[in-house]
Amino acid sequence: MIEIEEGGIATTIQDLGRTGHYHIGMPPSGAMDRYAHTVANYLVGNDADAATVEMTYQGITATFREDAVIAITGADMSPRVNGDPIETWRSVAVEAGDELALSFATEGARAYLAVAGGIDVPKVMGSGSTYTLVGIGGHEGRALEAGDELSIGESNDGDELVGTRVGDEYVPTYADEETVRIVLGLTDYRLTEAAKETLCNAEWTVSSEADRVGYRLEGPDLEFEEREQPFGAGTDPSNVVDLGYPIGSIQVPNQPIVLMQDAVTGGGYATVGTVISADRGLLAQRQTHDSVYFEAVDVDDAHAAREERNERLEAVRAAIDGGI
């Protein structure tokens, strides 16, 4: 059992998400940075879908009430065990009574704590992920607070992995990752040609309104093609007749909002592009006030990037199994 002493500012339990319910308005939720989440799990001998603790900007302080093997990946929150710094992207043994304390994020925005055996939470619609807007999943459907107790699942081979660290080539440098690739569409025809160029060339800044639902970006205004709005679209030029919003889609009520894992699933804003799945984790690691640039690619490039990301994760898993 893990006893939470300080919950941080937005700490939730996440796995790879709740798929198959989007049509009823249920977003997938799941880890915002799937790469970091998955590597943390591999480091402790878990499957990719085991539940981890996702911490945003500010980490937790917690006491382990049993021996465990842990790994922390993602944003650097200077983790310490009993006051001594521990390495990230590495599997570490902790003993009953040990206190794990993380600070604020100095690089990246989200850190993941994986525990051998996974965080044991009930599955709701097939997932342990927390979706706080409706209060389901994870630990009581909400962010963690002081006094919460998390159960740890049964583990097979975490002990054998203690001391394993992933190679530097597999550790992202979040501070440098300011370009995310997008595919233009579904309704980019609503933007003027000049606005499409602006979308792809401008420096965008992550606003303080950027969370698991969406990342609101600030930058130049985007102009829409003039038209007589069709019935059902509403009067604002950024409105279209309702459509489903893909995860990662960039909607432009005036300035871009990129929809993330807890997305609103549909509505009437023009979605003028979609951040590709391979790069959404990098966007999720951008802090408030950080810069973001969009680079337009086609769907084939997006698929290739996803394949490449999956191959990287496979290589990490193979290296961990081989004892790096």
Binding site: T56, T288, H289
Partner: protein
């Protein structure tokens, strides 16, 4: 003999000195504060987080403007 401490922000966001735009600031320089008393707010991810005095004392200089964009670990206010 006075110990000066500087309260820093645990997160990036926007710093507010007032609970509401129409309200007076939580504290002004020269005010006495107790440990744990709120001296400002940081807004991030559509949430407001209290910035509390980590020791009792006299509020010194504010190092950032009201409604300024701040980074994690940025010094906000001194308490003597």
């Amino acid at each position: 003999m006075s110990d000066k401490t500087t309260i820093t922000s645990p997160m990036p966001g926007v710093f507010y000195r007032r609970p509401d735009p129409d309200d007076p600031p939580f504290v002004e320089p020269g005010d006495e504060v107790e440990e744990g008393e709120t001296v400002g707010l940081v807004e991030v991810m559509k949430n407001f987080h209290d910035i509390e005095a980590d020791s009792s004392g006299t509020v010194g200089e504010f190092l950032v403007e009201d409604e300024a964009e701040i980074e994690a670990d940025q010094p906000l206010v001194e308490v003597e």
